[in-house]
């Protein structure tokens, strides 16, 4: 890998030991992919160093104590608790305390404590063609596919990228890896974001790490593309998709494939969409004690819809309803009165966290000597949450659309 003079100085430690360490990891990564050079990145979305993984927050603190700061705009990922109102979800005090500490560490390092999987809904909207470094598979795929910014499926190394402003030019930062691999023809009409999620879940399993090109998706909403991408990156390793006419790099099907031949053609009809709902349904009982909406985190518009469905009603006494979002959407939901409606109905508008990454995980419960699961049956409108919560929280799962989820929350029973 060829380094510029400035990059060599960073690597040699002329700008401090932290940047030298960060650079050495980035060079190792570049070499593993036979990368030729580094690029400057315009933005980073990094892990919050969840307290559920021991030692991560302490490591960030060590860096902050040594004066480390990020050198590009940097947002941060979901944490295991809601710091706005921890009591509303009965979050354990020690985990809350640990993350209040994280807030301070991030402030010192210049990292925005967004605690989100959808930073592009909160002012972090990198421009088309810019190189960025993002973790969170649901965010990565949106950056690449909807905004046209270029990121790999980064993980921990986003920290090193944010500290140096560099990333090796590998993978999805290279034009040739962004071309379509499979043509997907949609031959049914999708209704609502969960259907988009079902489409993504079906296609992701078929294309693995490919780049699917969707034909027949017309005027998709932002939320639908968010859920589509999250699901593609759950059943597969998809980091990028093209929606012809929508993705900046796919004005036409030809442009999406960039002169290459599709490796495969996938036709999706109503039958395949229904099959995903069936496949993810693991619950034996129709009684639901947990309803979760908001994976990825709900936008203001989705909160508006959910609040409208809940208005004047009451969540069943045996059922817990969480609607997951972030602080920015929450502020707007509060202003618009949606939070009041949800609260009056007995639901909780939850910020910062997400069940499958929260203190409700079986491993987090076990550390506190609690044998889980806390909830027996989870009903959700997200294929991503459905898949992961099944393993990490030990819940039996039902997948359905938002209106059916709210109905079930009120009745305590899913009648799909």
């Amino acid at each position: 890998m060829k380094l510029t003079d400035q990059e060599s100085r960073l690597l040699k430690g002329e700008e401090g030991e932290i940047k030298a360490l960060a650079m050495s990891y980035l060079v190792k990564l570049g070499n593993a992919f036979d990368g030729k050079e580094m690029v400057d990145i315009a933005y980073a979305h990094m892990s919050s160093g969840s307290a559920l993984r021991e030692g991560e927050i302490e490591y960030l603190e060590e860096l902050a104590d040594k004066g480390a700061t990020v050198v590009v705009p940097t947002s941060s990922e979901v944490i295991p608790v809601d710091l706005r109102d921890p009591e509303s979800i009965h979050a354990p005090a020690p985990i809350v305390e640990e993350h209040r500490k994280l807030l301070d560490i991030q402030r010192r390092m210049g990292i925005a404590s967004t605690y989100t999987c959808v930073p592009f809904t909160q002012g972090y909207v990198p421009a088309k063609g810019t190189y960025i470094a993002s973790m969170e598979s649901a965010a990565i795929i949106y950056f690449n596919s909807v905004l046209g910014a270029k990121t790999n499926r980064c993980g921990y190394f986003v920290l090193y990228a944010a500290l140096t402003g560099k990333y090796p030019k590998i993978g999805y930062l290279l034009e040739q890896n962004r071309k379509g691999t499979h043509l997907v023809s949609l031959e049914t009409k999708l209704s609502g974001s969960t259907d988009y999620g079902a489409l993504g879940y079906h296609v992701g399993a078929l294309v693995g790490s490919g780049v699917p090109v969707f034909e027949g998706i017309d005027q998709p909403r932002q939320e639908e593309l968010m859920v589509l991408g999250a699901a593609l990156a759950t059943s597969g390793t998809v980091a990028m998709y093209h929606v012809v006419g929508v993705t900046p790099e796919a004005r036409t099907t030809g442009e999406a494939f960039g002169g290459t031949r599709p490796q495969g053609k996938i036709v999706v009809s109503e039958k395949e969409i229904r099959e995903v709902y069936r496949k993810l349904h693991t619950a034996k009982d129709s009684r639901v004690d947990f309803v979760f909406l908001g994976c990825p985190q709900y936008t203001v518009e989705q909160i508006r819809v959910a609040a409208g469905l809940l208005d004047g009603r009451r969540v069943h006494e045996n059922t817990t309803l969480w609607i997951g979002t972030n602080r920015m959407a929450f502020a707007m939901a509060e202003r618009m009165g949606y939070d009041d409606i949800i609260k009056r109905a007995g639901g909780v508008l939850v910020c910062d966290t997400c069940p499958m990454l929260s203190f409700l995980r079986l491993d987090s419960l076990a550390k506190r000597g609690i044998s889980g699961p806390v909830f027996k049956t989870m009903l959700t409108d997200s294929p991503k949450q459905a898949k992961y919560a099944n393993h990490t929280m030990g819940c039996e799962i039902i997948l359905d659309k938002v209106d059916a989820c709210i109905e079930a929350a009120v009745k305590g029973k899913w009648e799909g």
Partner: protein, 125 residues
């Protein structure tokens, strides 16, 4: 990724997600998975490619901290940057695109040797 390792092979024919499908002790935690309940710790994991959440690299790092990491990883399809990060952090030899199809010649339980530098994967016994 450089490094050598010898260990028992664990051969998966389907992609696996390190975040969500493998627990913090290194066991495959997917109900109905053909290898459910088996541990990846100290095994030479041979599989097509990683899938799912980008938390996978942190999971490898955690497994390493706990002494539960795989001895080596052999990735036969596309290489995921996220997983390579994990292998660097966890210091796990990793091999990509081995020349001969490992699924033809290596089965779960075989002792194998991996050299991440030369890209060689051999069956010892």
């Amino acid at each position: 990724m450089p490094g050598k390792a010898v260990g028992e092979a664990l051969v998966l024919r389907e992609p696996i997600g390190f975040q969500g499908e493998i627990d913090e002790e290194g066991f495959i935690a997917v109900a109905g998975h053909p290898h459910a309940g088996k541990s990846v710790s100290n095994k030479v994991l041979i599989y097509p490619e990683a899938k799912g959440s980008s938390g996978g690299c942190m999971m490898l790092r955690l497994l390493a901290k706990r002494g539960k990491k795989p001895a080596a990883i052999v990735n036969t399809r596309n290489l995921d940057a996220n997983l390579v990060e994990g292998a660097i952090l966890a210091d796990i030899p990793m091999l990509c695109y081995p020349e001969k199809d490992p699924y033809e010649r290596i089965s779960t339980g075989d002792m194998v040797e991996v050299d991440g530098e030369t890209g060689i994967l051999i069956k010892i016994s």
